[in-house]
Symmetry: C2
Subunit: 215 residues, 2 copies
């Protein structure tokens, strides 16, 4: 892919979703240009880090003119793959699956939620976000006829073992894993593990620091 | 607090929950010592970064002997404030609140979930994890008699505006915020905002890179 290919360090990649959200916010406010200094104070990141980060994928700033918000937003969307319109399914229609279907703004981030699956007969057929929950037996057929890219794993650890191989065999290329367990998948399958409690621990740190400083 | 106080850079702090989880895993496997090299290959972080990070809070390694897993685990717990046993409540007993009450392993991370609140009469009085959902009217009395430290905000954006000031007035010092909106709170209140879709965007990046490399 010659010129398309750029080397973006993973620490920078980890910051891209946040930049993407902020730039989207600016666009909604009708702001078309912003300096690294202004962006810096809004985001609590140093201006020099912002400049370095944006240089990783071509800059988009002009000395003295700031950044073109829309171009930058589009470029980050492209790097993050949000422009692909990845098709997504949720496995597990329990409280977590339900919450994810309702709360995560899939469409806004370029993901298309096309199906929700569960093995519980009481849940199958119920509607979540105008999608009817499907039975696990329908998984393979659905994935192949809909060319699904991403599966969100919102089911317990012990259920994972048999589901993941089926997803991989069905051609799923990305797993967003809420099951708190390591997944063994082939090299061409991407995995992102979610550890919700990490955020709670970070909060605990901040709280503890504030209380120390308040002493 | 003189000698207790150490300067740990926030980038290091952000990595502590992950170290804490890995070290806990090693303890459960009965491993008492580990070298930075071994830890490095398990965690996908360079050995020199691990050494630098651990030096921020006193080291705990001995040249050639590796790290004492239990001591390190305890020290990180202390820095993260997990040894305080912070009392925690969840505001919002919808799908997200329900999922958080069930999935996040509060006790294991040192947090005590003491109450769940909702304003929906149909939900009030139902049981989640042997806690009976309370009415929002009970919030202030409950917080003051139970000395609650942390509130988890699992409710919609629009409901946040009136709830946060009540929590702050009731003495809550930490907010774990799932509402996708910025909170205005006094300086002595710590906030950690959760942006679930950041993980999905990171997955999308990985997936896109793998597909490029597979071309």
């Amino acid at each position: 892919m010659g010129i398309e290919k750029r080397e973006v360090p993973f620490v920078v990649v980890k910051r891209l979703p946040r930049y993407y959200r902020y730039l989207g916010e600016l666009l909604r406010q009708g702001i078309t240009r912003i300096s690294s200094g202004e962006l810096s104070s809004k985001m609590g990141v140093t201006a020099s880090q912002i400049r370095q980060d944006f240089n990783c994928f071509g800059g988009f700033g002009q000395q003295g003119y700031g950044y073109n918000v829309e171009k930058l937003h589009q470029e980050i969307a492209k790097i993050l793959g949000l422009t692909h319109g990845y098709k997504t399914i949720i496995i597990g229609a329990g409280h977590l699956g339900h919450a994810l279907a309702n709360h995560t703004n899939f469409a806004k981030r370029g993901f298309e939620l096309v199906g929700i699956f569960d093995k519980n007969p009481e849940v199958i057929g119920t509607e979540i976000n105008s999608l009817s929950v499907m039975a696990m037996e329908e998984l393979e057929d659905f994935c192949s006829s809909n060319r699904v890219d991403i599966a969100i794993l919102a089911l317990p650890k012990k259920a994972i073992v048999e589901v993941v191989p089926r997803l991989v065999a069905a051609g799923i290329k990305g797993l967003w894993n809420f099951s708190y367990t390591d997944l063994a998948v082939p090299d061409d399958v991407a995995v992102e593990n979610v550890h919700l409690s990490d955020g709670l621990m970070t909060l605990s740190y901040k709280l503890t620091e504030k209380q120390k400083n308040g002493d």
